[in-house]
Amino acid sequence: MKQLMLGNEAIARGAWEAGVRVSSAYPGTPSTEINENIANYKEIYSEWAPNEKVAVEVALGAAVSGARSMACMKHVGLNVAADPFFTATYTGVNAGMVVIVADDPGMHSSQNEQDTRLLARASHAPCLDPSNSQECKDFMKLAYEISEEYDTPVIVRLTTRIAHARTLVEVGERVLPELKEYKKDIKKYVSMPANMIGRHKVVEARELRLGEDANTLSVNRIEWADRKVGVVTSGAAYNYVKEAMPNASVLKLGLAYPMPRKLIEEFAAGVETLYVIEDMEPFYEDTIKAWGIPCSGKDKTGVQGELFMHKIEEKFMDAEPVGPMNTTDIPNRPPVLCPGCPHRGLYYVLGKLKLTVCSDIGCYTLGALPPLSGVDTCVCMGASIGMAHGMEKARGAEQAKRTVAVLGDSTFCHSGMTGLLNMAYNRSVGTVIIADNSITGMTGHQNNPANGKDIHGDPTTALDIVKLCEAMGVASVRIVDPFDLKETEKVIKEEVARDGLSVVISRRPCALIIKQTNKPVVNDPDKCVGCGMCLKVGCPAIIKTETGVRIDPTQCVGCGMCTQLCHFGALKAAE
């Protein structure tokens, strides 16, 4: 029986069918729905970890102890998890372990375009690259077989168009392998130099063996057609190649790393011109060239952005160039903070105080967009704190009085705590603002260690952020409601002026997780003088008109924050 499944849903199904027992993840677009779907399978233990490093360590522990396990993350999550992962390939796994990593070519919802295949090679981990949901499911089973046969963690690499596409999937049943025996093995699992020298040799031999076996692996296949042009491709790029170049011969690599040298040599010998068409980096192309096989591809497509069918037709088939997918002469529609968003009040105050804001990854990054334009820096999870501290140490304590770090509750749990400890330890007098909206917002509302609910929504221990900060030695910890603009301004002013480290917790739940009044704010046009104060907060419900403003009743959720900004009494909360 076929089902229409999101790539991420099919990954979860594949894990369930393969008998996975433990899954740990941190949400991140485009990977989030994998673990959300895993959580629906009662036979699998699943959890949200505070970050990807912990998730990989949990999966490794489970695998070493004898259970099939997995960890899921977006591409930049593997950077966070690189430390355990790069040594897990040395220790090996016992039972199968798979790490699913979702890349985001075109940066739909990410800060960079990082190619996970490069990290697979750098860490000596095999890497599978599916092209549709059926392959997502099937490759999971194969990934566990490879993991156990070659005793290594395996990466299944997705891209946005695979993770977030629904295609038909033939499903199967769950086959649960027995727990493998756990045996203490110091030489294998204790990563001291003397042990790992030996293990590195094992890694090298294993990689050579898998590279050889890859020549006959079922997921690496040649689709012979016209021999004038041959294309080596994989993943989403394969789909575009099949539509743009229906007559070309194709070598589809299901296993992106290690690459099957003999199969590629055979394919190259069978075609007149060899192209390599791949998303992101010239990963296959560089290796094929290094083997002395003439080919080209990246010189035509470049590394930035997604490949599409038309792009391939234009670059490789001499088709007429086509225009952009969107009409470009009309106003664009950037994402915005939602109506009723608590971050809006915080950013309004920070802008008013003209502070330098080192911000972070989350919905509140949207505070960088006009009219708030309230963010100076945003780099990666947790960087707000480290960068604000760096500015203080470079320019002195006076800089700290003009600077704040801003990050969310989930981001603080992910990578903020160590940065804050560094500030306390190294005598910072800076100010960190934790925008605590009780949820992981941008990725679609996942619970986290600070909100007291687990992945299933069941109650669990909640991190006490105040006590944590106090225990670290933060001199002052205060809580404000960001919708109380006066109080928020007063507290932030006092805390940035303080000659000691301070944390301000800006606390109000995400507008999408609490019940709103949904009674639109009332605008009295007779009182409105058109000063534009209320427009400074960038609320999608407040619309500029020729004489002043009007409230869009379909957008306004009735939060009433804007009424504090109007000095003329024109904006009033609904009765």
Partner: protein, 189 residues
């Protein structure tokens, strides 16, 4: 092969529309690809969903590209204009005639074009309706997407009964009656 593009503003319910279409095509033995948008642009930004169905040739790509769309379902007037490059010359644009102002317009940095519907009409065949109002009359403005499904139904080779089966499979039982009514209103528009 039939290509549909669904465009709108994050939060308008475009994902349910693509899900209904996907289930409908699958139930009728078609191959299906649906490409969705999650993450940042869902926060009030432009969103685009692609649906490709076929019972005659294989589908590989889940993306509908320039000049490939048989139908564009536009949930908003400005997004209808933005999506024009997707249209086949002989294609149809079904438009929910609603205006949602983007932030550059709200702040006064840009103007909302006055002629969105004319511009669309000049380029392709259009069906224009206030689906939000019709849905509101059925019981909830949230069913606007299903009103549009009803209009679309006349362009696709599936029976009314099959459409209703797909809708039943995709919406919560609590909201089924409202949605079936919304579908009828669109179907008979």
């Amino acid at each position: 092969m039939f290509n549909i593009v669904i465009v709108g503003v994050g939060g308008q319910g475009t994902l349910l529309a693509s899900k209904i279409l996907g289930v409908l095509a699958m139930n009728n033995g078609y191959d299906v690809r649906v490409s969705e948008v999650h993450g940042m642009s869902q926060r009030g930004g432009s969103v685009v969903t692609y649906v490709r169905i076929s019972n005659d040739q294989p589908i590989y790509s889940s993306i509908v590209e320039q000049g490939q769309a048989d139908v564009v379902l536009a949930f908003e007037n400005l997004e209808a204009v933005r999506a024009l490059p997707y249209m086949k010359k002989e294609g149809t644009m079904i438009i929910n005639t609603q205006e949602i102002l983007p932030m550059p317009v709200i702040t006064g940095a840009a103007q909302y074009p006055a002629n969105c519907l004319e511009r669309t009409r000049d380029a392709v065949k259009t069906v224009e309706l206030n689906a939000v109002e019709i849905a509101h009359e059925c019981g909830t403005y949230k069913a606007a997407n299903v009103v549009l499904m009803g209009v679309l139904a006349k362009s696709l080779p599936f029976s009314e009964e099959e459409w209703k089966k797909a809708i039943t499979a995709c919406v919560k039982p609590k909201f089924l009656d409202v949605n079936l009514m919304a579908f009828d209103r669109g179907y008979n528009y």
